[in-house]
């Protein structure tokens, strides 16, 4: 074995500047180092957090402040602390508020029912196909939300087979009895809106569920079976509880944007299906009643925050990130 050829010289000359050396005498003990480096994390955090404070937190404050002002666009606004605006907002628009929550809630439940099997399949049963299916789940998400929702106008239109089959199988009659359809059309109805919401936010449900289910050790399921649990019992007692963090994250990530959405309602619904979001949009951009609009927006924020806090407390999982 050849010795390393360049090692025949003694002491290689250093190239980097030499570090401080000390004569060999007693020196005071070192203090804990890295005091100087303490500013680094704060420097890293500052730009991004500052951006969020100025453009996310501050607007919330101006939103609240705007809601308590009075005046109009031409003459300007004065802060009067008019809390009455909130009462008025509730009086006028409580149907839309309730509707938003109901639609979003229904969509979330549906998304959970539909998304769970798919997430379970990808996590536990897909094997080689896992990446392929994941790609298929995520890719539509990267294309225009509006265009895809528009496509539902085609899919649910009266001339297409889905509505026609639904009529033949009397499913439309069933849904009409519950008030979900528009006469006997599936399109421009509550059914279409909820369906659109479910469709659009399914990936938000599936991905956290998948993450949670992926961590599930299949041997736990085998152990349950070994101990006489039927598939349903195994699901109830083992799979479901262990996937709860994913369920919580998924339902939150679905409900919150769904509650604020109005695109589905506008594109796939009718004048009876307006959600709070479209009201806020209209008030801000067309009616220009800023105080009312701001009040409505703030109500939406507070409602959702409250519901989320209660939900998270009950579900028991704090870490969502």
């Amino acid at each position: 074995m050849p010795a390393l050829s360049w090692w025949t010289n003694v002491a290689e000359p250093g190239v980097l500047p030499s570090a401080p050396t000390r004569a060999p005498q007693e020196a005071p003990p070192l203090a804990e180092p890295r005091r100087r480096r303490n500013w680094v994390p704060y420097a890293l955090l500052l730009p991004g957090l500052l951006w969020l404070v100025v453009f996310f937190v501050l607007p919330m404050i101006t939103l609240g402040s705007q809601s308590l002002q009075e005046g109009n666009v031409d003459d300007g606004y004065v802060f009067t602390g008019n809390v009455g605006i909130y009462v008025e907002a509730f009086k006028q628009y409580w149907p839309q508020m309730v509707r938003s929550i109901i639609y979003a809630g229904s969509a979330t439940v549906l998304a959970l029912l539909l998304g769970y099997p798919l997430a379970y399949f990808i996590a536990q049963k897909a094997g080689r196909w896992k990446n392929v299916v994941l790609v298929l789940v995520v890719a539509p998400f990267f294309t225009s939300f509006l265009i895809r929702t528009l496509a539902w106008r085609t899919i649910l239109s009266d001339d297409w087979f889905i509505t026609q089959w639904a009529r033949k199988l009397h499913i439309t009659d069933l849904l009409q009895a519950v008030g979900l359809t528009n006469n006997d059309s599936l399109l421009f109805s509550q059914f279409a809106v909820i369906m659109g919401l479910t469709y659009n936010f399914l990936p938000f449900m599936i991905l956290p569920l998948y993450t949670s289910l992926e961590r599930l050790d299949p041997r736990l399921l085998e152990a349950a079976g070994d101990l006489y649990a039927s598939p349903w019992q195994t699901f109830r007692k083992v799979t479901w509880p262990l996937s709860l963090p994913g369920v919580v994250a998924g339902t939150l990530l679905t409900f919150i944007p769904a509650a604020g959405d109005f695109i589905n309602a506008r594109l796939l619904g009718n004048t009876q299906t307006t959600m709070l979001g479209s009201v806020i949009d209209a008030q801000f951009l067309r009616v220009l009643d800023y105080p009312l609009a701001a009040a409505l927006s703030f109500i939406m924020l507070l409602t959702i925050v409250t519901m989320v806090t209660i939900y998270v407390r009950k579900a028991g999982t704090e870490e969502l990130l």
């Binding site: 050849p2 390393l4 003694v10 290689e12 250093g14 980097l16 030499s18 570090a19 060999p24 020196a27």
Partner: protein, 373 residues
């Protein structure tokens, strides 16, 4: 890079504390340049912490580190001429093997980095893998790359942090011999941290046995093994049988001192007895004990409780009248083996025993289960 030339590595009153927990008690150690040195001890004994302080990855709470005449305590890790072979290899996954090995040289602006890296890869018998990536190599090959990456910089001290822990037995044995040979060939100071006492004894010129942050004993493998100065070392290196005994008055004969253990008079070399001791643990290694009377003047009678055939040798557990079980190991040289339940005599020579102060805990260093890093 600090130009220290060649010199002994000395640790002067080196300590490391985390709040109220002291990981390393004041440690004074000198490691000769060009030697293969081992820091041996169970997990949590402070050996890895000491290594990291030498590397500059952790700063000592107090004390100094010197190479030759140069004090390097205040220099940062990237300024020291000390390189580490990490336990998990820590190869950069986004670089090729050759880039990995050249990394240190490139940082120093070495224009000849590629050739040197290639030569070092040849030294560790991996000349062909330069273009591959770490994830494409087996564990043993990654370990050799990690070694090459550190070696190529010709550090004053090369630190090895339990580098063989992840390898299977045969490969580990092979690498132990390889490392020893490479060290002798390149003549660098190697400091090897391990919890495997066999590994330390195989490879090192000198061993420092550490326990709970302090140095138990320092010496070459043979001395540590034959003349342990504490029960910890006696039990941690190999196995020991420890018999409670009292030193008997009287001049003794020919450098031999008489002690009495459980009613039997036994002999031990005077030089193996700690000065001024009255109550001692008389220790004798299992392989020094013989079944039958041929081992020496020290004789005890007992009953065989277990016989284990291990290929090279047979291990017997012999129960003494007072309940203690002695371990006897005999090479399978063809002589007849004892059987279960047989009454036997166990004998050994005076020179084969050692004595330790009885105030120590007889179980220190003994009940250590196999620990993976």
């Amino acid at each position: 890079m600090v130009d220290t030339g060649k010199g002994d590595l000395s640790l002067v009153a080196l300590t490391k504390s985390y709040g109220s927990f002291t990981a390393v008690q004041p440690l004074d150690l000198t490691i000769e340049a060009g030697s293969f040195f081992a820091l041996l001890g169970p997990s949590g004994c402070g050996k890895t912490t000491t290594l990291r302080m030498i590397a500059g990855l952790d700063a000592p709470t107090s004390g100094r580190i010197r190479i030759g005449e140069t004090d390097i305590t205040d220099t940062k890790a990237y300024q020291r001429n000390v390189n580490t072979v990490f336990q998990s290899y820590a190869l950069f996954p986004h670089m090729t093997i050759l880039d990995n090995v050249m990394f240190g040289l490139k940082r120093r602006g070495d224009k000849d980095a590629k050739r040197k890296a290639q030569e070092t890869l040849e030294l560790v018998q991996l000349a062909q893998v330069g273009d591959k990536r770490p994830t494409q190599l087996s564990g043993g090959m990654q370990q050799r790359v990690a070694l090459a990456r550190a070696l190529v910089n010709r550090p004053d001290v090369l630190l090895l942090d339990e580098p063989l822990g992840a390898l299977d037995l045969k490969l580990r044995r092979q690498m132990q011999i390889e490392l020893k040979r490479i060290q002798q060939e390149v003549g660098l100071t190697f400091i090897h941290v391990t919890h495997d006492q066999e590994e330390a004894m195989t490879m090192a010129d000198r061993i420092a046995v550490m326990n709970s942050g302090s140095l138990e004993q320092l010496g070459d493998p043979a001395t540590l093994y034959e003349m342990p100065r504490s029960t910890f070392v006696a039990n941690f290196l190999g196995q020991s049988n420890l018999l409670r005994a009292q030193v008997l008055d009287g001049p003794g004969t020919d450098g031999v001192v008489r002690v009495r253990s459980h009613g039997t008079d036994l002999e031990v070399s005077r030089e193996h007895l700690p000065a001024g001791a009255a109550d001692v643990w008389l220790g004798v290694r299992p392989e020094k004990l013989r079944l039958g009377e041929g081992g020496g003047p020290n004789r005890l009678r007992g009953i065989v409780r277990d016989v284990s055939f291990t290929g090279v040798a047979t291990q017997y557990i012999v129960e003494m009248p007072w309940g203690q079980e002695l371990t006897v190991v005999q090479q399978n040289d063809g002589t007849a083996r004892a059987t279960l339940g047989e009454a036997v005599t166990v004998s050994w020579a005076a020179a084969h025993g050692f004595a330790l102060d009885a105030s120590q805990d007889a179980d220190a260093g003994a009940e250590l289960v196999d620990e993976r890093g």
